[in-house]
Amino acid sequence: MTIAPENTETEVPEGHVKLVVDGEEVIAPEGELLIRTAERLGTVIPRFCDHPLLDPAGACRQCLVEVEMNGRPMPKPQASCTMTVADGMVVKTQKSSRVAEKAQEGVMELLLINHPLDCPICDKGGECPLQNQAMAHGRSTSRFVDTKRTFPKPISISTQVLLDRERCVLCQRCTRFSDQIAGDPFIDLLERGVHQQIGTAETADIHNSASHTSSGTPFQSYFSGNTIQICPVGALTSAAYRFRSRPFDLVSSPSVCEHCSSGCALRTDFRRGKVMRRLAGDDPDVNEEWSCDKGRFAFRYAAAKDRIRKPMVRDESGELVEASWTEALRRAADALVAARESNGAGVLTGGRLTVEDAYAYTKFARITLRSNDIDFRARPHSAEELDFLASSVVGTTPEHVSYASLEKASAVLCVAFEPEDESPIVFLRLRKAARDKGTKVFHIGQWTTSSVRKTFGELLACEPGGEAAAVDGIAEHAKDLDAALSSDDAVVLVGDRAAEVPGLFGAVTRLAERTGTRVAWVPRRAGERGALEAGAVPTLLPGGAPVSDASARATLETSWGLDSGTMPAEPGRDTAAMLAAAASGELDALVVGGVDPDDLPDPAAAREALANVGFVLSLEMRPSAVTEHADVVLPIAPVDEKTGTFLDWEGRVRPFSITLEGTGALPDCRVLDTLAVEMDADLFTQTAQAAWSDFSRSRVVSAHQGSNPDQHSRPAASTPDTPDGTVRLATWRQLIDNGSLQVEEPHLAGTARDAVLRMSAATAERHGVTRGERATISTERGALTLPVEFTDLPDDVVWAPARSPESIRSVLGAGHGASVALSGGAR
């Protein structure tokens, strides 16, 4: 039988080339690296330095292959991780070429010469690329018989990362990561030849290099943990995890980070009922393969000794004593029913909730307490913000603005948003976009922060509180930015700090309408976006329909199985109003989730309200300022011990399931469900799954989505004059501070940035402050003394971190944009 010969000439599409790999014809896109082409064919070429998210380096030479170009073989084997495909190339990997195989074996033997044989006690042993590839591609014996090179071990790169130099194979993944991805080149290659090693500022004289600030202190990177994860040999280890356990006795479960709204996929590894470490998960749409140090290392709060594990009630003597669930729920139910029947009760949820938990709070407030007094914002907030959230944020999905659109954007404007501190993965994306795609990043802020520098950004400096005017002034004063924002793919990112600046949301809305750019809101806490969607706000129902909308209420009453007209129609009070009402006796009870009074706009007033209100029910993990005043404390589960869903800033659903089972800890939704049953109502939020399906069924999408006309009319507030002798305060929370989810992490705390008072040289001179000394900012309420650092702030503006570690709001009673007195020296 004869078959007509098949036409073997395949079309080569535009932008592609044809080459032969191991005798197989392949079509590959131009610019693809040989190592990836081979990978697509199923041939894994061993490698150490190659990482798909880092620039090619060709440092380890492990990926050698034989290459033939235009019929002429190259004289020596080539590194396939740096060589791109070309038309007519003939590549022979270790599969078909003895030369490549021998070359790889030789390189492996050389790499292993100085590599210690401590695999059994190495943290990486079991998940080590060197171990695996030595088994797969290495010689079974070594010809090296001399003493191996040793170094004193370990040296600490930061308090968090330790380096064992003899294990290092000099692949430079870590240095490339810190240089390219994070932008903190805190480690680099030192010395030459056999003495070549990875070193830090302490091990070499590189004090004048870019890795140091002007004052000569080494950078504290927020992303140093990633170097541990990408290290292919276990040379970099984490101080918190070093020698604690082995990959093979850990149980891994996928999880989602609870710290900020970036929504990172994580991998949580545990054993014996205890979380041992967390690694960045692989999610190309969100965090790629990175995570920040806070997400990676701050998880021990859940295992803290002072964790509340049993309900507590306040006895006659005023002490909190452990009680049974029955008793505690009974006490809480009785008090809340009494409060509901008289002046009412308010709900403060805090920013740590999953969507399911926030939804349970929403239902609890609306059904059980029959009130709209619920607010998730445990931070400075405004009515204007609520309007903005209702009109522009609620209901948006990643189709609106996502990480991918940041990467594609021609220009990104960050307003009242410090990406590195508030959403580190957004920062990484902005840096990637700026570095690889040439995205222009603009920041409306006060000084050239590391976010501005590392996103190759442009700072539009303004006074704190003057951001709204700055946004309004873009058309006039920053024509290039205005033009850039007018392009289709531009994005504006607004931080939740914008609520502290009157008129800023209006200005941003106007800007968006004028230029047609998309606006995304990036809150600081992981639970805020989900809580908004779940309706844990005084004016919105789950899904985003306004409370005042009768038809939306009717729809919700039907799906919740309520009698018609039982839903409260009046918009409720926001956090500040609830606390004020509680202090003055207009509210009889407060149900408080994870709220730290120090974050609230007026911590003193919040504490007073908690002390004065008739009844406080606290749902907490660990004793806090709220439990001090609580009458009943109900323990709830941390994320490791529950199932749930976060919504990240994009509106992307980030579900995660329970990691540690059988600890007996209950999620908020379950606790509230049981409490509601005590109060003769059913929330149907017994489990996270039930709560989620009830939420998906019940969300009422607003009929009139769109901008709120009020916002156009609201003028940008002009900055009030600063009285003589005072300066304006700029402040925000840094990524690593004394937040309640970062306790018991001494190693992590060591990488926190120094708390300093920043000001310009001119300001310092005017107020008698000298560089390198301490200065004090004060209000009539209190004073805060910090070391001074000179930065490019506008005149008469100082910047201080919001936690240093005292809360600036607690001490000074003032926040971003307030006037404070500045004087040199300590008070």
């Binding site: 401590d118 059994p120 006690i121 082995r246 006795d249």
Partner: protein, 188 residues
């Protein structure tokens, strides 16, 4: 079967009466086991008394019966139990699980865990058969000092591992008493 075969049987019994008694009078007399008999475990010490265990948990991982529990902790300059970074903070062997296979001894990278010939372990309380670190620690020999104490024999752990026997002699550990595991260590 022959006619005298039954008598032959009695003959064996009768003859045995004149032979040497084979019975070991065990509790009264003691017959040492073979030198490499797998008896109870022991956690060894360096010649200055520091522990050899580094809390690496390889023994626990090697154990087929899951009889070993180890948890390591960090040495500090103020409180040092072993040379190097880590020491075994908690060490337990459950003798009701241990099958005496000796895989843990093979796994131990520092020769900290070895077996002695002692075997009279029976007890009426299962909790007492979970041996803790205090039970398993080798006794202090002359020249040894109960940890925690600083490294007396060198700057770092390398000195301890590389020149153990010389250090032991210098430390005055009696001849014949080995701070290493057994006689075979010398051959190695």
């Amino acid at each position: 079967m022959g006619m005298f075969d039954p008598l032959k049987g009695f003959g064996v019994t009768f003859a045995t009466m004149f032979k040497k008694v084979v019975t070991e009078q065990y509790p009264e007399d003691f017959y040492p086991s073979a030198p490499r008999w797998h008896g109870r475990h022991q956690l060894n010490r360096h010649p200055d008394g520091l522990e050899k265990c580094v809390g690496c948990e390889l023994c626990a991982w090697a154990c087929p019966a899951d009889a070993i529990f180890v948890e390591g902790a960090d040495n500090t300059e103020e409180e040092r139990y072993s040379p190097g970074e880590r020491y075994g903070f908690d060490y337990q062997i459950n003798y009701l699980r241990c099958i005496g296979c000796g895989l843990c001894i093979e796994a131990c990278p520092t020769r900290s865990l070895t077996m002695v010939n002692f075997y009279e372990l029976a007890d009426d309380d299962r909790r007492k058969l979970i041996y803790t670190k205090e039970d398993l620690m080798a006794p202090l020999l002359p020249g040894m000092e109960e940890p925690p104490h600083p490294m007396r024999l060198g700057e770092n752990e390398q000195d301890y591992y590389v020149q153990g026997p010389e250090l032991a002699r210098g430390r005055g550990v009696p001849e014949g008493e080995t701070v290493e595991t057994s006689k075979e260590e010398a051959i190695q």
